[in-house]
Symmetry: C2
Amino acid sequence: MIIRVSNRRVLIDAAMGRIDHDLILFNANILNVYTGEILHGEIWIHEGFITHVEETDCLTVTGKALKTIDIQGAYVIPGLIDPHVHIESSMLTPRRFAQAILPHGTTTVVTDPHEIANVYGIKGVQYMHDNGLDSPLRQLIHVPSCVPSVLGLENAGAVFGPEEIEKLFELKMVCGLAEVMDFIGVINNEERMHELLDVAHRKGRFIQGHAPTLIGHELSAYRLGGAASDHEVTTAKEALDSIRSGIYVDARDSSIAMNIHSIYQGIKSLRYLDRVTLCSDDVEAQDVLEHGSVDALINKIIQEGMDPIDAIRCATLNAASQIKEEALGAIAPGCVADLVVTDSLSVVKAKQVYVSGKLVAENGTLIEAMIEKEDPLEKQNSVILPELSIERLTLKAPIENGEVKVNIMAYDTATSSMTHLSKEVMKVKDGKLVFCDPDLKIVAVINRYGKDQLALHVVRHFGSQEGCIASTVSHDSHNLVMVYEDPKDALIAAKHLQTIQGGMCTVNKGVVTGSLALPVAGLMANVSVETMAAQSEALKVQLKALGLTKLENPLLRIVTLALPVIPFVKMSDMGCVDVINKAFIPLYE
Amino acid sequence: MIIRVSNRRVLIDAAMGRIDHDLILFNANILNVYTGEILHGEIWIHEGFITHVEETDCLTVTGKALKTIDIQGAYVIPGLIDPHVHIESSMLTPRRFAQAILPHGTTTVVTDPHEIANVYGIKGVQYMHDNGLDSPLRQLIHVPSCVPSVLGLENAGAVFGPEEIEKLFELKMVCGLAEVMDFIGVINNEERMHELLDVAHRKGRFIQGHAPTLIGHELSAYRLGGAASDHEVTTAKEALDSIRSGIYVDARDSSIAMNIHSIYQGIKSLRYLDRVTLCSDDVEAQDVLEHGSVDALINKIIQEGMDPIDAIRCATLNAASQIKEEALGAIAPGCVADLVVTDSLSVVKAKQVYVSGKLVAENGTLIEAMIEKEDPLEKQNSVILPELSIERLTLKAPIENGEVKVNIMAYDTATSSMTHLSKEVMKVKDGKLVFCDPDLKIVAVINRYGKDQLALHVVRHFGSQEGCIASTVSHDSHNLVMVYEDPKDALIAAKHLQTIQGGMCTVNKGVVTGSLALPVAGLMANVSVETMAAQSEALKVQLKALGLTKLENPLLRIVTLALPVIPFVKMSDMGCVDVINKAFIPLYE
């Protein structure tokens, strides 16, 4: 347990009436998630903790406190908990992310700083930890388990082995091992994953799962590895099999994947729902502004048909139980005073949000601006590229003129991130490939961690029709990835991103047309959620102008191009990867 | 967590079909306590753990195993768990206790070796730990928190402070701190209890509660101390308040107190019952034979009206969740293969009992006799009395002849263990008190841990009409306690108990009329449950012959005479105790 009562004797004195309380909320309809009851009464709070809940019909306060607040008969529910979220996906720093979601009633997040870990390793995780530490949002951390995603096929900024995991377990807010994505490694008893699991088991830490499509024996085998949750459940059958196996289903609606609907179909007739939680996984700034946070997930599953009290329990007590934090997720003596006031339980909307007994947000707005926190890492430039030139960004052919057979990485559709290998004949002129089909582009993945390494290849059906699209957000290694036809545009894009210390940009005919600066690790910016949403929208317009019109969110196209765990062909800074066979595919036959 | 998968890779190999299983139970109706479903299918078991549950309509086995067992359509439920029991109350050694309750389907007990701790201290707990270690019954241990029950008012065989608690936390099967009985000390912030709680909090251990009558603020204050369960709940109101406060209610029906009925009245309309478990606390040999173990508790609460699936969940998953043992309490991959086969869920009766995948009992009988385990402690004589004589056991008056005013310890009724102070005038002849009223007796509490200490007093309404009743079972310090009129009988009784190394006996007119030998710590015997039941019954007959006819169980009368936490007047080896004021009451005014 991370969250603990540190001042037990003082709280006991308060509960026993030997000293006055700091705060009493009265005239409240309080949801007791242990029993499922709604009880009218008072919540007594001292030094950030709930010391007592007094059930009373009184509309006035009955206890003694320095301050009292009339809740006016509204409901009070526990602060909401998101058991799995990557803050980096919001492109906001942890403190900025906190500012964005707190007004929605989310008071605790369990984050997986997987992206920054791939960039900065241990010091990246430490930054996320420290940056979030004294924000009102409780930011618990699971230590990333798959850094890099595939060892030997890409160069990330760091490699996490058992030693790194063990070291990071010492951080104050770390509660477990984050999503064990290499489920194949687990069920095939590969040593790399099992060595990490061994550390978590030895240290008695929670192990978070990530097991898309697993059911039956394979799911059982994965469970035996120790994973106790899964947010990659997408079907009713997977949901049912997971809960039957004792695995918590973190029902997800993210900016990328909406699974709550299907999951609910699998669980709606179950007698017990203790092992269901709600998570956002990856959520963009714009979506926080438009839809919200865990509040939106609760309202979604209520709309699907779940009873509101069950739904709120999923997002509070169940999530706290998953990570064994007994002082979270309920309104009872010994719990932190993280509370949400809402006029309705069937549509949760945070009217007031309390964290540790302090009112932090009201009617969708933070009460006070969060204190800025300087960290040298935010100033550091993470984009350390090799020496680049037009020549280096040009695809050279093995012959001077004629035709060659090319192994092309081809997207299946305009929206899917799945790809296949397309063997095609291309023309060569003066030793260079000729791109006369606008559906074909050069793709470059360039190491940005100081290694003189880059890989060029041909991509089909990426979607852009002209110019260059470039990004330092490029899951999971976050090398610089660019898709272009004209190497001159690519060189301009690379230099621009280096100048703004990372981010995403578009270049067309020698001109930077769109730019989203993400100077913190090339992934995030220390700006408000509103600013980030506006800047992202502006870039989306430019991406669409270059041809990415088919995707609802064109930002997502390039960021998974170099993720060599998505079948079947992906790129890395070391070359074009045959995902299934974990091998490289040469450009030319 | 104490119970862990140690052979993960092997189990994964089994689940994936790379090696054959040890055992598959097929054609079973399996209760899934996570979902509340009953699923027909197979339980795949390897190296003591469940690796997979296959849902299938087949009546034949579909998986590969060295051995398969046809369950013939019966129900399979998880092994039953008793979250709070004192093995000493059965007067059987841990291995003998295991033999008694395993056939009833109880596969895990969480014990509080509180009694032997008062006799032998750390080595007593160690004995209980070691003796139970390789019996098929999983014997988890909570470290006794109140040794002795009241410091300074009695001499027990040991005193447990923070150091002893911390040392005992190192034992393999220890999971928490046992019943924190001094609830007054907790809510009044007395240092003795808080120092012990500090150790448990620092070590992240479970803290078991014991808070009779507490509701409201006092219950909140007690909860803030850290206690997470309570088996002393006796009323509907206490049950409801406890669960609302996040405290597990261990609903108890013991040989002494029957609380399940009242508790059920408080919880029957609750939406969630996750925090309800069932416990036996103190159970005598005869009651195990007649009524059973946790099976009887399940059947009782079903009779009260609880749904059978909820009831079984209380006695399995809920109990496991309380002590955070994830590998217990369910039938799912990664759980130990502790299973009970029963033909009915509405009346649970163990047809077969499996522990770690091994059939240990069938139709009420153990499959194989438990291996004897020698421990020098079982041979040791714990009854080390001062030099006794008729003179020392005689009540001397402060005058030679006449009348004196005497402070008498008087029982309220013939059955209650509550007492009050009765100031009475008694005659004195030749310097000794005259006992002409048969309702008055001498009570002696004699230190049996080598200290030359004894206290004599007068007791009214104890119940015996003649002879001497003596016992080394005498909660909680377990000094020798005797009630008698003729010091000659008392001397014979004391010498008899010393000879048989402890136990209980009756003496009348110079003859030992009844004797129950409890040579292990003066509390237990290494005999079968049947032998113990027969011997206890024989002694009860003799106790009744001496006048204890009003109590259903006359064994219980003497054993709480020296428990200085029961109001209002009790004895100790140091004198007569004013329980509330924690002071001594002189015999004469």
